[in-house]
């Protein structure tokens, strides 16, 4: 009896905790179909209207559009600069290595409110108007270190012999990079870009301090919370969730197949 209890205790606990984690996600999804009038608090019946006409609430759509513009811009810039740093950290010897590591580590260990207020104070000192550019600058800053960490792990698994083989076959530095190094790093770079995009898209605190009048999706939700969040916001949240989960599932299934091959070998 004791044995079987011990055997089922952990899986039961894990299943219950996952159910708990899913509650607000399911709630948001269900209430995206609510036939709500203004506030989306009480269940008033099923409708597809919110999904079919998301831009009925123009503000939600605009905020979502801004979030996408910010996330794409910040992701591109942070991924390029972060990948360069990651390659340098793993491959090159240079002075000030520990200072560099510290500078990269600090943004990960700084509360968002401090980074947000600091940047906003600097923009005030510079006399810069807050808006789309300042949000993109802020998001590039706080996602950069995450890109470095993610790509670095991939660079570290790269076998330098492959690049040496390329050089032995008279490939020049650019050819070695674009034909060998870059394709091998690509999964890591893509993972980093996805992470940067997700972090930027969901960021609220740093955005609130540096956006001025610009609305992003999380900022819209925060402001709307005082009077009740419209169902259209649930639609956008659920839609983003479904897209992200689909991408992750495809990646997971593909990599688990690869691992299974490795294990059975």
């Amino acid at each position: 009896m004791k044995l079987s209890l011990g055997k089922y205790l952990l899986p039961t606990y894990v299943a219950l905790t996952f159910a708990f984690l899913a509650i607000p996600i399911i709630y948001t999804f269900v209430f995206s179909f609510n036939d709500s009038i203004k506030s989306n608090i009480i269940w008033r019946g099923f409708t597809l209207d919110n999904w079919l006409d998301v831009c009925n609430q123009q503000e939600v759509c605009d905020a979502f559009g801004n979030s996408v513009i910010v996330a794409v811009s910040a992701t591109v810039v942070a991924t390029i600069m972060g990948t360069m740093i990651a390659i340098a950290l793993v491959r090159y010897r240079f002075r000030f290595r520990s200072a560099t590591n510290l500078l990269l580590f600090l943004p990960l260990a700084t509360p968002e409110v401090v980074m947000g207020a600091g940047l906003a104070a600097q923009f005030l000192d510079f006399g810069w108007q807050k808006g789309l550019p300042t949000v993109i600058i802020a998001h590039t800053m706080f996602t950069l270190s995450f890109v470095v960490v993610t790509v670095k792990a991939r660079v570290a698994t790269l076998d330098p012999a492959l690049e040496e083989a390329g050089r032995d076959l008279y490939a020049n530095a650019a050819q070695v990079f674009w034909r060998i190094t870059f394709p091998l790093l690509l999964p890591g770079i893509l993972a980093a870009a996805m992470l940067a995009f997700a972090l930027s898209f969901d960021d609220f605190i740093i955005t609130q301090f540096n956006s001025g009048a610009l609305d992003t999706f999380p900022k819209f939700v925060y402001t709307a919370a005082a009077r009740g969040i419209p169902a259209e916001a649930n639609v956008i949240g659920s839609f983003v969730f479904l897209v992200a989960i689909a991408i992750v599932l495809v990646v997971q299934i593909r990599s688990s197949r690869k691992q299974k091959k490795l294990i059975t070998k």
């Binding site: 984690l21 943004p107 990960l108």
Partner: protein
């Protein structure tokens, strides 16, 4: 912060950096310059602003450069309860999140180790909350716990809750919301450590007649310590500065305000930049002291 490096991953080949030369400089310069300009100098702007005095012109929201150290005394005196609350909430939520997350991380990293598909699915479930806006999730809890919700009405009918008791706006609600939001941040780094745990060490312990409690205490847990350290930092630091969960539009009330709420109100609403900056500097200083104590144990290179 090792959790971000999850994903499909071969064991890391330990290679020493070998190349030298100018290229390193060109690779590093843009990113480091960027962080210097938009991460490091803003911290100095924050210190500068925290010492400013109200402008001689008397215009609200304008301040002159000064050395007003009294701003710190004012911030500490005025907002001591919020500062204390931030760190005690962060500590309590971190401890609860650790207790909740460790078994999940163990199950994924050890029990499900040889079943890649199950493992992948479970990891997806852990990170699933990241894919839906944190604000929407927190707002969902607000509605679930709100006064006339199905849950509260049921609890009151059954007699588990008093007729005029409530949940939203209490310390419990805020800590609950914080724990919920940070379970994935705690689970992933611990999982990453346990995934690398060599099970032969545990078997060796059993062979030497250690019971399961002893093998856990002396082998499994110490070897997962890097993950526990990362996880607690990834939970404690953001919580100490969070102000969404504790906001009165979400799970909190004016009685649950944390440092973040005060910084937000002072900076963005009443434009008292010096007080907001002084509070931010104090928060940052407390975090730096805490993190350096941790880092001294584990080393920055490891944490990164």
């Amino acid at each position: 912060m090792a959790f971000v490096a999850l994903g499909p991953q071969a064991p890391v080949a330990s290679q020493k950096p070998t190349k030298t030369g100018r290229v390193a400089l060109y690779l590093l310069l843009p990113g480091l310059f960027y962080l210097g300009l938009f991460f490091l100098t803003p911290l100095f702007s924050l210190i500068l602003t925290s010492l400013k005095a109200p402008s001689a012109t008397g215009v609200i929201g304008r301040y002159d450069v000064a050395l007003e150290i009294g701003n710190y005394g004012y911030a500490l005196g005025q907002y001591a309860p919020q500062i204390f609350r931030s760190f005690s909430f962060a500590l309590i939520a971190t401890v609860i999140a650790l207790a909740v997350s460790y078994p999940i991380a163990y199950f994924i990293g050890v029990t499900a180790r040889n079943r890649p598909l199950l493992k992948g699915m479970l990891l997806t479930l852990v990170i699933a909350p990241f894919f839906i806006s944190m604000l929407l999730r927190t707002f969902a809890w607000k509605q679930i716990f709100s006064n006339d919700s199905w849950l509260l009405n049921t609890l009151k009918d059954v007699g588990l809750m008093g007729a005029d008791s409530y949940i939203i706006g209490t310390d419990f609600a805020v800590i609950f919301g914080l724990v919920y939001n940070f379970i994935p941040f705690m689970t992933l780094p611990i999982y990453a450590s346990l995934d690398r745990l060599d099970l032969r060490l545990v078997e060796a312990g059993q062979d030497l007649y250690a019971n399961s409690v002893t093998t856990f205490r002396k082998i499994t847990f110490p070897l997962s310590l890097p993950g526990v350290i990362s996880g607690t930092l990834l939970t404690f630091i953001p919580i100490s500065g969070d102000y969404v969960v504790a906001s009165r539009d979400f799970l909190g009330s004016t009685d649950t305000a944390m440092i973040g709420n005060v910084v937000e109100a002072n900076f963005l609403r009443i434009q008292d930049y010096p007080t907001a900056s002084a509070l931010s500097v104090l928060l940052m200083a407390a975090i730096v002291i805490l993190v350096s104590a941790y880092v001294r144990k584990s080393g920055t290179e490891d944490l990164l």
